[in-house]
Symmetry: C2
Subunit: 196 residues, 2 copies
DNA sequence: GGTATAAGTAAACAGTGTTGACTTGTCAAG
DNA sequence: CTTGACAAGTCAACACTGTTTACTTATACC
């Protein structure tokens, strides 16, 4: 019964892996352009040229499809790897450029579904492992996770407000000044001294 | 045909207003305890002892019901009315106490549905009129709205992270220190000087 | 008391995510 | 080359969702 383990091409017919990839690719494309809630399972299946039931067969549920899509992408590509001192500025630049350019596809997918109760566990895992965890590691020191959590709040918050408000207010500031401002805010999140 | 305008009790049968209030009360209760997405129209109607179709008759759509629910409550009760200097601390205390106590019912309803595309317009109006607007007025000066928008980002972001993560990381800090910290962060949002 | 008119109702619509029973293609053994 | 097993793929249904339409019924005025 475990004859598939030797070569990898044993009990396979009609190419399971290719079908999986096709579904995943369609989901990524549709989720990132229209958001999780607006894209139905049947539409993803149709786009992939595949039967709807295969989504649940291969990914358990629609939720699992999003989980796999967002797991594929790095949250902060090349940002946490660097000196701690420049971290606020690098993060600020990342956020502002995402904000102005309409965001990376993944970021948009996340912002679309930030509060969806059905996706709480997906976002929870992502937030802890890909955002707060790496940030806390660079930050170091006591209460690193709390500080990382604050930084994450700012980043997610700016994304959320941008998505709700269309960045109307934020665009009052020139991009460069916005980066300066945001770097200062993130810096305040990281500050160690107790003000009181 | 306008005979209802003289006394207020003319063309009314079976008490339209009472029914409206009953629906609204049920919606408020269910939305705030379980979130917008998890509560169906039929459940609200059943809870109110009313026919489902009346929700759409009186509120246009389920969306309209939430809009009316959140419109009833003040976003920052007694916080924007005060001196500008103490604003960051008052906001920080508000956010932290909401965070630790599980949030006001309304805040939870909002956090539950922050990214829902169907509710974008509802949240947009609320954010502009009840959050960014009043904040910008207290803040004053040039780019007041941009600064207010940043503050709103921090507040919404903290709520969102708390909701996703269960406040696990944020609770590493004692409440008092968290207030200090958050006040500093919000203060940085309001700072006018260009750092560069 | 009859009647217009509003309030309230029931049933259907088109859509969702998900599931279980079914068919079919493919590969290995006889 | 046929046969059988098993996985891949299909189909139709399920229990929901929000919303609309045509309908019934109770009320307040003439």
């Amino acid at each position: 019964m475990e004859r598939a383990e030797d070569g990898g091409c044993a009990g396979r017919a009609r190419d399971r892996e290719a079908t999986r990839r096709r579904i995943l690719a369609s989901a990524r494309e549709l989720f990132t352009s229209e958001g999780y809630a607006k894209v139905s399972s049947r539409r993803i299946a149709a786009h992939a040229g595949v039967n709807v039931a295969l989504i649940n067969r291969y990914f358990g549920a629609k939720r699992g499809l999003l989980a796999e899509v967002i797991a594929e992408e790095a949250a902060f590509p090349g940002i946490v790897e660097g000196d701690r001192e420049g971290l606020p500025r690098r993060l600020a630049e990342h956020v502002v450029h995402r904000t102005l350019a309409g965001g990376t596809p993944l970021a948009r997918a996340l912002e679309h579904s930030a509060g969806d109760p059905d996706l709480k566990s997906v976002h929870e895992e992502r937030l802890k492992n890909a955002v707060i965890g790496p940030l806390a590691e660079v930050i170091g020191g006591p209460e690193a996770r709390a500080r990382a959590s604050l930084v994450a709040s700012v980043i997610l918050g700016v994304g959320l407000v941008r998505r709700i408000e269309g960045a109307a207010s934020l665009n009052e500031l020139e991009p460069d000044r916005l980066v300066d401002h945001l770097a200062a805010v993130i810096g305040a999140c990281l500050a160690e001294g107790a003000p009181g």
